[in-house]
Structure formats: C-alpha cells, structure tokens
Symmetry: none
C-alpha cells in the first residue's frame, strides 16, 4: 500500500515534469522575445469545430449518442454539440471532462486512477466546482505539441467516450 503510493506519487512527479517541459518548449519555440509576458498557444474556432465534427462522425460510425465539449487554453468553453437523443446529464460531464483534462493537461482517466480511496489525489473531484476523472477527457495539442485546449466526451461507456474524444483530438 505504502509502496504503491510512492509509485503513484513518482508517476505524477514524472508526468508533471514531462508536461512542464513540453509546455516550456512550446512557449520558447513560439513566443516572441520583444514583449513583456509571453504568447501561449490557443485553439481557434475553426479547429475546435473540426475536432467537434470528427468526434461526431466517429460517434455516428460507432452508433453511439454523445455530448461533445471543447475548451480553449484558458479552460473556457469554446464549442459544444449534443447529438439528438444523447443523455442530458452528459452535457455537464462532457464539459467537466474537457475542463479537467485542460486543468491538469492529462487524460481524465489518468487522474481517476490517482483519485481513488487511498490514492495520492483522493477526492480531487471536490475542487474546481467539480471534476470528472473517468475517461473521456483528452488534451488537444497543436503540431508543435503545445496544449491548446481539451475535448470532453460523454454519452456511452467510458471506453467509447475516450475513443470518440481521441478521434476529435487526432483531427487536429
């Protein structure tokens, strides 16, 4: 138990460093030097709609009914669509998955493994007005690897949700 805690904690630390590195590299590579502050990569609406449509197409191909949310680099809602007949309760879950994925720049399912009873992030879901930490939320990155937002999908099993979210992420 104690041992697995250390392994989990170590994993988070490594993940955090890895992500931090990617982020700084992104910023270094693209931020101009002649201003105070810096430039951060962000998703534009056309890209968000492309991810949304790709996720919707995947869901139709799989025969599942999904709520799909896209947030920008500031974790604020950028685009959303609910397929006809998709669960009403998944509106909020799709949004929370997208926000959660961007809040920590990880797939939501990774956080869910750490938030179990006894885990290092136990009940992290109580923060930020409510997180959703099971699969279906995925960070969105540009070609340079910068996180530019996130996609959250809800409406079927968590495996289906994740697969549809990946289809959206891969479209970028």
């Amino acid at each position: 138990m104690v041992k697995s805690k250390w392994i989990l904690a170590a994993s988070v630390a490594i993940l955090a460093v890895a992500i931090g590195t990617v982020q700084w590299e992104g910023v270094d590579a693209h931020g101009p030097d002649d201003h105070e502050g810096y430039y951060s990569a962000d998703i534009d609406l056309d890209t968000a709609m492309k991810a949304l449509e790709a996720a919707r197409a995947k869901a139709e191909e799989m025969g599942v009914l999904m709520d799909i949310a896209i947030v920008d680099a500031g974790a604020n809602l950028k685009a959303f669509a609910r397929m006809d007949g998709a669960w009403i309760g998944s509106i909020d879950i799709a949004m929370k998955k997208a926000r959660t994925a961007r809040f920590f720049d990880m797939n939501t399912g990774v956080i869910g493994e750490l938030s179990q009873p006894g885990g290092p992030l136990y009940n992290i879901e109580h923060s930020n007005g409510g997180l959703i930490t099971f699969p279906g939320g995925v960070p969105l990155r540009n070609a340079a690897g910068d996180v530019i937002g996130a996609i959250g999908v809800s409406g079927s099993t968590v495996e289906d949700d994740h697969e549809v979210a990946m289809a959206g992420a891969d479209a970028i």
Copy 2:
C-alpha cells in the same frame, strides 16, 4: 475485481445500445418530416399526477413516509408531493433521483454500482450540481417505450424507495 469491472462495463455497453435503439426508434417513428427539429415524447400533468398518486398509495400500503418527485423529458420538475412526516432532507434527494434517472435514462441504482471506488464512473456524483446514485430513481416510459420523464422517491430504505418508485412507474 478485474472480472467484475468487465461485467459492469459490458452491462453499460448493452444498456447504452438498448437505450440508443429505443430513442432512435421513438424519434424515427414520430418525427414528422415537414418541420425543423423533431417531436419528442413528454409527460403531461395528468399522467404525472397518476404516477404520484400510485406511488403515494404504495407508500401508505407499506407504511412508509416518502417524498415523491416527477420530472419531465427535459429533466425539469413536473409534480411533487411530500407525505406528512416524511424527511425534509428527502425533498432534494427525491428531486435529484428523478433528475439523475432522466439524465441517463437508467435506474439510479445502476449508476450507483458503476460509481463506486474502482468503478468506471467513480465520483460521477460531482456532475450536474449533484447526482444521487442509489436506488429510488426510475425513468418513466409511455406505451411506445419512449422515455417521457422520471420519478424519484426518498424517505425510507433504498429498497423501499425503489419499490415505491416502481409503483409510480408501473401506473403509466
């Protein structure tokens, strides 16, 4: 543990497909072609009151004191009654059970099995301003099988709550 996880995941998948089919059939069968949008089944007040009265009669027969809530297809409150002496804290629980059942078109207890520690929907209760995922919430369907709302009952054991909710659902 791993095995039961697969069984749960499989159950959700089957449920999701089953529900998806019913919903699409409902929409296909009843949606006219000559309008924008479509027509979806909804509960009317007389039907809601019939379910409410049936649930109350069942509760009286069982000698339990219940809060009973009915929501419509949009998960908005349609009718409510609190029996004399029933728990005040069950007002919100009955409403949340009804909303939760309509949010995902499942009995609330089914969601509760999936939201346990280690389950695929762990801590889903943090979404939608608070879900209630123990038994007592049941979707309401019309004769054609369309979901037209849901009933939520709270005030006794979860077994009693579910039994009273079923009495309401069966009255439709």
Copy 3:
C-alpha cells in the same frame, strides 16, 4: 408611470395568451391519443448547427466577436460556439440568455423591460440560478410555430447581440 405599468401588464397578458394558444395548438395538433403523455416539438442538432452558423456568419459580416448558445425545448444546452477573441464572460451570458428566452418563451429584452425598478417583474433575475434579461436571447420556433428551443448571443452591444440572435432564429 401608472399608465406605462398598465401597458406593460397588458403586453404580458397578450403575449401569455398568444403563447398559450400556440403551445396548445402545437400539442393538440401533434399529440397522438394512444399514448400516455404527449409529443412536444424539439430542436435537432442539424437545425441547431444551422442557426449557430447563420449567427456566426452575421457576426462576421458585422465585424463583431460573439459567444453563441443554443438550448433545446427543455432549456438544456444543445450547441455552442465562441468566436476567436470573443469575451470569456459572455460564455455564461450567452447560455443564460438562451435559457431565459426558453424559460419564458420571450425575447430576453422584453423581460428586461418588465424587471426594472417599479416594474411588475422587478428582480426576477434572482430566480433560476441567475437570468439575463437584456436583449440577445430569442426563442426558436419551427414552421408550425412551436417553440423548439432558444438562441442566446453575447459579445457586443445588446443591439448587436439581438441582431445576431435574430439572424440565427431566422435561419430556421
């Protein structure tokens, strides 16, 4: 003052009767007799995306940056888009305008005239978790006149917001 109060009250009365008639006609005309409950008109995703795109095109033509939200007949979010550079604070306002318009089946600006100090609906904004009652929210109707949802637009002056919302509504 007294006179304008009467005019406002009369307007609401006429609106209420007009809306009531349309709703009941819709229900009478389309509700089958052989089921519990009834069928109510609702927006589908393709129609929602059409309204969203029409509103976005109008905003681009006017050179304004908008948040655009569409809710369904149950006042639940159906589709959303935020133009690049549009206000972050308008995400919630666009959603609340759409919900407010569907909550009362009126343009939000009409409610805002009635909710002023001394008006009959003073401080109605405190209900429903917060209403937005200035212009920019407009009900969406199908060809039969049934309310199937609403559009909310925020990001510029209330006159611009309303104009863009109307462009979305007129596309249906």
Copy 4:
C-alpha cells in the same frame, strides 16, 4: 421621499406586530401546556393538494398555464404541479414565491413594494438564496388564523399569478 420611507417603515412595523400577534395567539390557543417547546400549526398533504387543485382549476378557468408550489410551515416544499405548456422558468419562481411568502408571512407583492430602490428593504432579494418579491406568493392560514405554509404561483401576469394563488389560499 423621506416621508414615504417613514410610512413604509411604519407599515412594516404594524404588519410585523399584527402578524406576531396572530402567530402567538395561534400558538397559545392550540399549543398544549404539558410539554417543553410548543406545537406549531402545519399544513398536511391533503390540504396542500386541495389548494393545488383549487389553484389549477382557477387557472384552467382563466385560460392561463401555471406553475404552482406549496411550502409547509418550515418553508420546505410540500407539493408542486406544472401545467402542460407552462413556463419552465416558472418552476423556480413559483417555489421562491411560496418560500418568500412564508419567510415573512406576507404576500410577496408587499415585500416587492419595500424592496425598490430607495425602499427600506432594498435588494432583500439577495438573501436566502434568492427571493421573488413580485405578486403571486401568499401565506396559507388555517381556520384559527395560524400560518401553516404558503402558495406560490407563476406563469402569467403578476395579477393573474396572484389571483390563482388566492384561489388556492381560499380553498383552505
């Protein structure tokens, strides 16, 4: 302005004393002497349903579509019904009118006159998670004059709302 403030303040004081007297008389008359604490009058479900049905019948007679809420002596929801086609936004308003009427044992419209800009209760609507202070909320009293709960009605003009609420109150 100053004068009218005094008149308003005086009215409130007189109202408060009057209501206080009625309440204590009620308690004195009906509370048994052989217990610690006291007995307070409260509405039972049959009475609440009678008020609900009377209000609904009045609304049907007037041709208006209403949301009707009944709270008990503890200001907690006892019964609720939304007529088919009545505004979704009026669910919360009807409940808040009923609670507001019981919170202060006054018709909501009386409070609304005092909560205007410059009035003695300016912006009281910010308390208690949101009050509604325009007409449509009315305390419910038993034959002895004790307040046993309140009714809140929303769905038309405030005059109509009040008239339907009075029909409910008069049925007790």
